[in-house]
Every structure is written in C-alpha cells, then in structure tokens.
C-alpha cells in the first residue's frame, strides 16, 4: 500500500489493544438480600414490590406483593413492620415507610377491585385448613395458588379469627378485613363457618390429603386474685370478642386492665372509646420491660390512658358494689425481677380486665399419635409439620412470636411444605443471598428525603369513636415514600457503573435487563463497585 511521506503504519483503533489482560480483580454483578426482606416474617419481597411502586405501577406492585402475602390492606394496618426496623435508610435519614406504602397498595386494590392472577391447574388434592385467622387464610391462599383445593373449617360465625375478634376496629376497619377475605373466597378458597373441628383425624376423613392447623390462641390465661362475690373480673379476649357481637360489653366508668402486652392496650383503648372516664393499665414491671409495642403505648398515653408501672393487683371487689381494687407497689431487684414492697394503694374501679396472655385450645388433637405438645404449644419441624405425618400447624398455636405477620408467614411456609409433601418430597428452604449491609452501599447518591408522616386522627375522635386512628397516604406521598427505597443490594439501573467506567467496559443491556461487563477491556479498577449506590457489584480476584 502506498503511504504518504513519513507514514509507515496503517492507522488503527485502540480496540486492538485488549486492556482486560491487565486485570487482577474482576467485577461481578451480585444480588444481595435486602434487610427489609430478611426481616419480614411473612417473607415478602418488599424491595421487589417497591421497585414497581417507584415507577407508579401500583397494580404491578400489588401483584408482586400478593405473591407472598394475600392481605396487604390488612398488613398495612396491623403489621408491626420489622422491615422498617431493619431498613438501611434509617442510617441516612429515617426508615422507608414500607408499612404505609403496603397499606396504600392494599387500599388501591380494594378500590379498583384487582383480583389475584389465576391459580395453577387443579391437582385434585384437597387440604383441610382449620381456622380462618391469618395463618389459615394465608395457607389456604397459597395452596389454592398451587392448584390444590383448600377448605377452611371455621368454628366462629365469621371468618378472620383474631383479625376480627382480637384486633379493635380503630386499628383494622372491618370493611377492609371483609374485602380481603372476599377476594380470597372469590379466588377459590372455601370457608365453612360454624364448623368446629373437635377431632382432627375424624375431620380429615371428609376426603382430605393433608391438614393445616391454625386455630390460634383464644383461651385467656388467668391469675389468682382474691375477689368478692360481686366483683366484675373479665378477660381481655372475651371483651374484644364481645365487641363484635350485638351489644358491647359493660365495663363501667372506671376500668382497670391488668397486663402489659398489646392486648392490654387494645382493651384499655377500647374501654375509653366505650365511654369509660378512666382506663388504667396495671403492669408489674417497667415501661422498658413492657412487651407491648412502643408506638401503641405512645398512642394509648395520648388518648388519656394512664399506666401504673411496677404494680400488681392484690385484691379485687373491695367495695360493696364489687368495684375497687387494692394494688401493691413493686420494685425491681438486682436481676430485674419485680419484688413486692409492702406498699399498698386502693384504686376505684368498676371492672377489672385481665390481659395476661392466651393459650391455644388443643383439644382437637387429643387422639393424634406422634404429636408433641410442649408448654401449651405444638411442636413443628422446619417445614411446619407436626409429629404426625400430614398434619401441619402454624400461627399463634405454634410459635412464641404471636403476630399477624408471623402467622401469615407460617401459612405460606406450610403451604409450600404441604405441596412438597403431597408430591412425596421434603420441602427445603431455598438458599438465601448474602445480606445487603449498609457498609456495602454508597449512600452519597441518595437524595435527602425524610419520611412522610401518616395523618393521625385527632385526639377527641380517638377517645370517643372507633374510627381508624392512623390514616393512609395519598398517591403523591405514597409514590414519594416508595421512591425513598435505596434498593439495597440489588441493581435498580441507575447507570452509574455504565457512566463511571473510564474504559467504557460496561455494556448497557436496556431497560429491565441491567448491565454486563466487557472483560476484553475492563482493567479491574473497581470504580464501578465503589460507586454502585446499592452495593450490587463485587470485586473478585482473577484466577490464573
């Protein structure tokens, strides 16, 4: 080839120079487990549904959510949101309001009448679910999705279990509960009301291949309190259950509630709404030791509930009409246990409500061989199966942590295990990704955006009506809240790796398809990994 004067080589592109050979560390895209997902007792893919909510596609977000939990409108009200406690955003400004976005999605679904995606083709297998509380509903839903026929036997007159007979209306309006249960029955979950199972093996003879027990814990624990004949001592479970009946329970002007759990607060707040002038909680330990959730204590105090810490009830029914109680002051000893001080006080009261915890009624299991009951709770394996093959259990009757969310998680887990068991397999939980810790992220990139507060009902209406205390978010602030999600540990296509590579060695694959590295040119500098906001790139040593 004839070349111009002084030119000896053909012009060429630097693409001939494969700089990838310089590399000692190789970047790799990874998916890590976001802390919210890791903390969710119901096993929700929170980050997954927030991703769709961020772009304003609420229906897709809801569909993603109900893959794991069929009751977002309920959860968005009653869940104690451990996800928010684990949220990495807490270390930037404040946790993402996951619970409020969940409620918004649930309410949107109810407003627009979204229905579940069709279930898998029928398998011809039938599963009995005992109890229509959160655990039973969740199990029945997941079994139905998998193509099994799930039939719920419910002893009560209405479905919902503790959702209806334990949680006050001001926290969970009944039309929300009814809407989500109706969606489940429309989906194919069969609920037979007023059908009490007294012998589980007998009930299975109705043509069932397996059974899931979710009967809950409805029997109130008692404490011995000397009391006069006329004394009005009630239990919390009964009070809350009667709230769903024709006539509200008569508690009087001055109500004392004994106990320190969420149920005690529910009863005290209910009493106040029923017109009690005074609702006093008596608890034998300190506020720090109280098992009730902090925000519920806070809300109760705002509503004028008074709480007597370090106090026990010694005697009830002191006055002639059966009211008034004698309490004793306690003090914590070195080990943190309350000890009596001998200091007494008389408190005016028209009724005393005991909220000292609940036990499960396990009489339906009396004749089941292989079953182990320990401290009033049924023993189950990792796949939620009891000692008797084919009999699975979950919810309050099978766990120490008794919340709606845990029950929903139990139901899902049990459904998966039952599905495996029906196919003659053993369910093995899928392996979990490495946790997406805050240290692995680059928080510089997240906009400064504090949490949106939900509107709270004014105090007067909270003391006199059963209107919902906590309001919901509207579309704009729900979107804002969803967009506060930092997508910890999973690529959200911010293009940072693609932009910051000095060697153009990141290939953009298009929306939803993420990126890939061009290892022919990647020199392994690691800027992409350092500047990835969410920590979804890992540098690994090159082999030889």
């Amino acid at each position: 080839m004839d070349k111009p004067f002084a030119i000896t080589l053909d012009p060429g592109s630097s693409l001939a120079n494969l700089t990838g050979s310089w590399r000692t560390l190789r970047p790799e895209y990874v998916d890590r487990l976001p802390p919210c997902n890791a903390a969710c007792p119901a096993g929700e893919n929170i980050q997954g549904w927030l991703f769709h909510a961020e772009s304003g596609n609420y229906e897709k977000a809801w569909r993603s959510l109900v893959e794991n939990n069929p009751m977002p409108a309920i959860m968005g009200r009653v869940c104690y949101h451990p996800c928010e406690g684990a949220c990495n955003r807490e270390q930037v400004d404040s946790a993402v309001g996951i619970n409020s976005v969940e409620r918004f999605l649930g309410d949107e679904a109810n407003k627009h009448g979204w229905q579940f995606a069709p279930a898998a083709p029928p398998t011809g297998r039938r599963v009995l679910v005992v109890g229509s509380g959160p655990a039973g509903l969740s199990a029945a839903y997941h079994l139905t999705r998998m193509g099994h026929q799930a039939v719920i036997y419910e002893a009560g007159p209405l479905a919902g279990g503790m959702l209806r007979f334990g949680i006050p209306k001001y926290r969970l309006p009944r039309e929300v509960l009814d809407a989500e249960i109706k969606r489940l029955t429309d989906f194919g979950v069969e609920i037979q009301l007023q059908t009490k199972v007294t012998n589980v093996l007998e009930a299975m003879k109705d043509g069932f291949d397996a059974v899931f027990l979710g009967v809950g814990a409805h029997i109130a624990k008692r404490a011995y309190i000397p009391a006069g004949d006329a004394c009005k001592v009630l239990d919390a479970v009964a009070v809350l259950r009667d709230m769903e009946g024709e006539s509200a329970p008569l508690l009087g002007r001055k109500v004392v509630v004994y106990g320190g759990g969420n149920t005690a607060l529910d009863v005290a707040r209910t009493a106040k709404r029923l017109g009690a002038e005074e609702a006093i909680i008596v608890y034998r330990r300190t506020r720090e030791k109280m098992p009730a959730h902090h925000f519920e204590v806070e809300e109760a105090l705002q509503e004028g509930i008074s709480i007597k810490w370090l106090t026990t009830i010694k005697e009830a029914g002191m006055s002639e009409d059966g009211g008034d109680i004698m309490v004793e002051k306690m003090a914590l000893d070195d080990k943190g246990f309350p000890q009596p001080t001998g200091e007494f006080e008389r408190i005016e009261a028209n009724s005393v409500v005991l909220a000292l915890g609940q036990d499960a009624d396990l009489s339906l299991l009396d004749n089941v061989p292989g079953l182990v009951v320990n401290k009033g709770m049924i023993e189950i394996d990792a796949g939620m199966m009891t000692g008797h093959p084919g009999v699975f259990a979950g919810g309050d009757m099978a766990g120490n942590e008794r919340t709606v969310t845990v029950a929903v998680g139990h139901g899902k887990l049990a459904a998966r295990a039952i599905d495996s068991w029906l196919r003659g397999e053993t369910w093995v939980p899928p392996p979990r990704h490495e946790l997406a810790t805050f240290e692995r992220m680059n928080p510089w990139y997240y906009s400064d955006a504090p949490k949106t507060m939900r509107p709270v009902l004014d105090i007067i209406r909270r003391q006199s009506t059963f209107d919902e205390v906590l309001g919901g978010l509207d579309e704009t602030n729900a979107l804002f809240e969803a967009r506060r999600c930092m997508s910890c540990g999973n690529c959200f296509e911010c293009d940072n790796c693609y932009g910051v590579c000095p060697d153009n060695a990141v290939i953009k694959l298009g929306p939803g398809k993420r990126f890939k590295f061009n290892l022919d040119y990647c020199k392994g500098c690691g800027i992409c990994a350092t500047e990835c906001p969410c920590g979804a790139i890992k540098m690994v040593p090159e082999g030889n």
Binding site: S14, A16, T19, S447, R483, C494, D495, N496, P502, M539
Partner: protein
C-alpha cells in the same frame, strides 16, 4: 448551580442515570447511544480520572453540537495514552499539538473554519495541567485575550504524571512529587507558589469560565453544554484524580474528586464575563484530613507525629475557598 437538580427520585440527579426520569432529562453518559469519543483500549492506568473526565466532557460537547467537534490536544497523559502511533482511541477529528501551543493550534483551526464558513463546527482544545498552567500558559492567555472561538478544557491532575509525577504549577501545597520530595524542614510542594488558573481566566473577563470534577457528572455536562451555547473564548477546568500520582486506590478516583469538592479544597463554580454566576454547594462539609489521608502524596503529614501546622494551613486554604466562593450556599447569584 448550573443545572436543575432533581430531588426525591430515589437518587435524583446524583447518579449517572435514573430510570424514573424522563429520557430527555437524563445525562449524556447514561445513554446507550453516547458517542464514546474516547474508545476502549486506551492505555490509561486503572481508574484514570483523566480518561473519564475527557469522555464526560467531549461526549457532552459532541451531543451539544450534533457531533461537530474538532479537538486539538496538548502533549501529556491524555495524548500519550490515547494515541500511540498509529493507533488512536479518539473517535472524533483530533490533532496532536506540541506541549505548549494547543491554544494557538485551536485558534488556527477556528480561524480556518471561519474562513471556510463552517461555523457550525466547533473547536475544543484540551490538555493537562502541565500543558495548560505551565508550558501552554502564554498561548492560552493570548487565546483568552483575543476572545478566540475556542473551548479550552484543562484536565487537572496536579502534576506531570506520565513522565514520572513531577511538580507543575497546579500541584497543591505540601504534596509530594518526584521533584518536591517529602524531605527536609518543609517537605512536599512549597506553600505560596503555583497558580489557580480558573481565577486567572476569570481575570481575562472571557465569556465563560467554569470548574468541575469527575464526581459531579450532571454539573460537568451542563457546563460543557452551556459553554457550547456561547461564542468566544471559554475555559473549563476539570479536577481529575490520578491514582498513580496521588497514591490513591484505583477504585477511589471519583471518591477523591468528591472529597476535594466537599472539603472545599477544590471550589466548583461557574462564571460569565468575569462574574461568578453559581457554585455547586458543599453537601456534607468535611475536614480536609478526610481528603488528605487516603492520598500517599500527603503521607508525610500523617506519620507518628502528624504535622498539624501543615494540615491547619491546608484547612485554612480550604476555608478561604469556602468563604471566597460561598461554597456553603447553594444557588445562583
């Protein structure tokens, strides 16, 4: 502020892209159709800030002019690593000048284009801090003074890095280079010498002067876009960390630029006709130690007996920048 920042879209405009922004509001660098003016296969070190800064700036200029850019390039790292004869990484019309005359070569190209009536084609001159603040300073000042229609971009990495990290007039005080070793009673580069060229450019009252870093892409792109809207002499000074010369980890290049800006060590501003129009405010104020410590060129300040007086001196320089440019107040003035 040279561009409208977007807040609350998860990462707003802090990241290169953002799937929640409408496509027209996204950065040039986030597009899969960006020019890649400087292509893969160049021989810059791992984590080179200059290679990155050059692609950011020239891609933005290409986008703003519909691909009508001619670049003149001074000798220096950028020329050496991109174009070892007969190969080149440049995908634009590009000419290598002498070390010191890039501004003059660009002036000539602009004049020729004017004569030919091709005024839609724009001229960019670019070089490192050595070729700009030292060797090419006379040509550059002449270009400013004549108000020639050229955008001059200086990629400042604070020294002559490809020849072995020698000191330039842009090397910061106290920094160790091979010609300012960390020995004697006043180790590292001397205080009170050198120059901050953006301020000299300002003194020429030219139509546009701006500073930028590789840590704030949206700001950098907006400044290049603004510069291409203006005719006459324009100057953009981009801080580009050098892992080799600064003694920093290859993966920390952007982080170092961010720290330079957040500590006030490097002021990021924009000016027209000698008047400062806006600054990129410090988001989370930090002490200069945070910027100095990761750099081996300042290691002699942090031994068993930290040189607190020198660090205090550097902090005073940063504080003066913060005060002089108003770096704690966001916005246009």
């Amino acid at each position: 502020m040279s561009f409208q920042p977007v807040k609350f879209y998860q990462t707003g405009t802090f990241t290169v892209g953002n799937r929640l922004l409408p496509p027209e509001e996204r950065s040039v660098q986030s597009s899969d159709k960006r020019f890649n003016s400087i292509n893969s296969g160049h021989r810059a070190c791992q984590g080179c800030g200059e290679a990155l800064g050059a692609r950011y700036a020239i891609d933005a200029a290409m986008e703003a002019t519909n691909g009508q850019v001619i670049a003149a390039n001074a000798t220096g790292c950028l020329e050496v690593f991109s174009t070892p004869y007969p190969e080149t990484s440049w995908q634009i019309p590009w000419i290598h000048s002498l070390f010191g005359n890039t501004a003059a070569v660009a002036t000539g190209i602009a004049a020729a284009l004017k004569v030919k009536g091709q005024t839609q084609t724009r001229v960019v001159a670019q070089g490192g801090d050595g070729g700009t603040t030292d060797i090419g300073f006379g040509c550059l000042s002449g270009m400013f003074e004549r108000n020639d229609d050229v955008l001059y971009i200086c990629y400042d990495n604070g020294g002559y890095m490809n020849t072995g990290v020698q000191r330039s007039s842009a090397t910061p005080s106290a920094a160790r280079t091979s010609t300012t070793p960390a020995v004697g009673s006043a180790p590292g580069n001397v205080f009170g010498q050198g120059k901050f060229l953006p301020a000299i450019a300002l003194a020429h009252d030219i139509p546009y002067v701006a500073t930028a870093t590789v840590a704030d892409l949206r700001d950098l792109e907006a400044k290049v876009r603004r510069a291409m809207e203006i005719r006459g002499a324009r100057y953009i000074h981009i801080l580009v960390p050098c892992p080799l010369g600064w003694g920093t980890a290859a993966h920390d290049t952007i982080r170092m630029a961010r720290l330079a800006k957040e500590t006030g060590t490097f002021p990021v501003f924009e000016a027209e006709y000698g008047e400062i129009k806006s600054v990129l405010a410090i988001r989370h104020p930090l002490p200069v130690e945070d910027y100095l410590k990761p750099q081996k060129r300042y290691a002699h300040l942090f031994g068993k007996q930290p040189k607190v007086d020198v660090i205090a001196h550097l902090q005073a320089q940063a504080d003066r920048n913060i005060k002089r440019y108003g770096l704690l107040e966001q916005g246009t003035r």
